[in-house]
Symmetry: none
Subunit: 401 residues, 2 copies
Amino acid sequence: MELEFVRKLVQKNDTKIVLLVVDGLGGLGRQSSGPTELEAADTPNLDNLAAHSLCGLHEAVAPGITPGSGPSHLALFGYDPLKYQVGRGVLSALGIDFDLRPSDVAARGNFCTVDDEGMVTDRRAGRISTEKNQELCTLLREIEMEGVELLIETVKEYRLLLVLRGENLSPQIDDTDPQAIGEPPMEARALTPQAERTAGMIREFLERARDILAEHHPANMVILRGFSQLPSWPSMEEVFRLKAAAIAGYPMYRGVAKLVGMDVLETSADLGAELDVLEQHWAQYDFFFVHFKAPDSAGEDGDFERKKALIEEVDRKVPPILALKPDVLIVTGDHSTPSLLRYHSWHPVPVLLWSRFCREDGVDRFGERACMHGGLGPRLPAVHLMPLALANALRLEKFGA
Amino acid sequence: MELEFVRKLVQKNDTKIVLLVVDGLGGLGRQSSGPTELEAADTPNLDNLAAHSLCGLHEAVAPGITPGSGPSHLALFGYDPLKYQVGRGVLSALGIDFDLRPSDVAARGNFCTVDDEGMVTDRRAGRISTEKNQELCTLLREIEMEGVELLIETVKEYRLLLVLRGENLSPQIDDTDPQAIGEPPMEARALTPQAERTAGMIREFLERARDILAEHHPANMVILRGFSQLPSWPSMEEVFRLKAAAIAGYPMYRGVAKLVGMDVLETSADLGAELDVLEQHWAQYDFFFVHFKAPDSAGEDGDFERKKALIEEVDRKVPPILALKPDVLIVTGDHSTPSLLRYHSWHPVPVLLWSRFCREDGVDRFGERACMHGGLGPRLPAVHLMPLALANALRLEKFGA
């Protein structure tokens, strides 16, 4: 559904909506018939809430598609992730809390290994340490160029961020990452005539980086991809007429929230601390996005028991959220991160939507199998959740007479 | 979802995917509350597989739309059947294993009856026998024309195939079939200037056919429709990076598989023989499309008991397929063919998708009613099955960072 369509139906009132995102919530059983992390967890409060909620499973992008954090959160915020795409450069900047300006051009970089003929032999430079990366970034910062400021930041391990700051820069530049080994890095090529000047700067940067890194095998070259600028999207205030706040301890999620115009509140990544921030700012906003990262990390570590325990921590925090008396409370994840797979997966994600008007659906457990039989169905496109939240907050007028 | 979108996420590995299509699988009860053919069948192996699978019902095109074999199979292969449309002429050629070349123009023909004023009185010429059709085609083959080879083939009963072979032919020609009785056959009209020459050939062919058939009432004329050429679509290898093989005893299904670039393996239409071919070629391919035609034919004959027995034959063949250790196994139909209706229908089709990572959904019977409660939901667009199969084979990277 188009944002423009929803925008025309929105009306303001004084209701409050809370979207609690338990990162990587969905899972799999250790054996195919066994309970998932969520099903194995002891969650009396979530189960009780589910019994009075509309339940289901959502998909951020499409069946079978595993979403990254950017697309999955945009979908939860009501923005079609296929239409609202963010470049990798921008996402990398968001992920390290880099204060990107609208005219900046950002690229995601890899330290890589090239052989004597200049062919890429390892796109990740033997996965050098973050400390080594920091050393090398310090060296690269020596590169100076007329008419542009070069900002170089360590992301993690072999990953870095390159930002060009200046006037009349263009992100219309092709990747230099060949995405294969045995091939040379590609030359930074302008995709439009307007990008010619910026592409020339990138070529010069890469030549000088090659010289500086020559003696630093395996990290003796840099490849770049995802040249991009901050998108200029309608804000949640413009589209949904919601004064929206993000409470998220990790940079990536704060960054994506900023892209849709949320105010980003100061917090640590601890769920208890996040809920304190929620309570403190309760009067000031209509919509709160609360993000809890730890269960995803546990899933990526393959730690079924820790993920389960972290979900139980979420469960204990449900009563204090309800005590604030939200009009609509959504509890869900952005994607599944089964500890069996140790990374994001395509599996639909449990979701419950509670409001006074949600129409209970008979589901009385918050878990993957139980939610399959809920009123939201087993494969709700996540982008529909925001209109549902607004409807349940009585913030949408009817369509047509 | 666009093929181009999926293509960018595909990665190769050494997993194997089997898509077993039981033609016309879905059905209806003899009484509205009674079991369908599949539900009435004794299917312990399919039921056990369903218990460890993700289940649901799929729709090839859209709710209420009865798909032909072309669109339904294209959807199962991941190609949107509304976007990837095949002309009737080409489908007719595929259906009789005619070796169509890319520059050929094919048309589907009907022998029909015209009265003394040349008005069509029966679009199917009293449903003449296939033998009579063959006699008449022999006569029509006498027609020769400068600059083009005319290939005329019996399809079945009143149906024939006309293929023009030559240079610079165009399929942009309007149907001559008036699709109504009491009207004359329409003149073959070029839809573009480039098609003028080809349209002239068709007009000449039809005039001479009228003369030759004059004394063969009720089959005293031919009407043509669906002028078309072989489409040039991206192959499954290009889109999904799958080396794909089709094991299908009937020409239509081999033909549709060829359109998406599958290798077509030699086999009879017997399911046992098809599975022998599967086993023999197991090492050579990543993806196998196995097609079992007989249940559809039983449904078209209105033979509930025979369709049920054929489904039980499928059930007995499940263990040998599993013994090959596929990474993903999908069992489904291309459409429903209820013996109550005796033809293809719009009813959603049971589907199960088994993999180690499928997330079981509690459905423990393979049947129409049971599958409604599965994790794929009661109306999965069939085009999503291929991305789901690839995801379950761990062949898709995540979308976005």
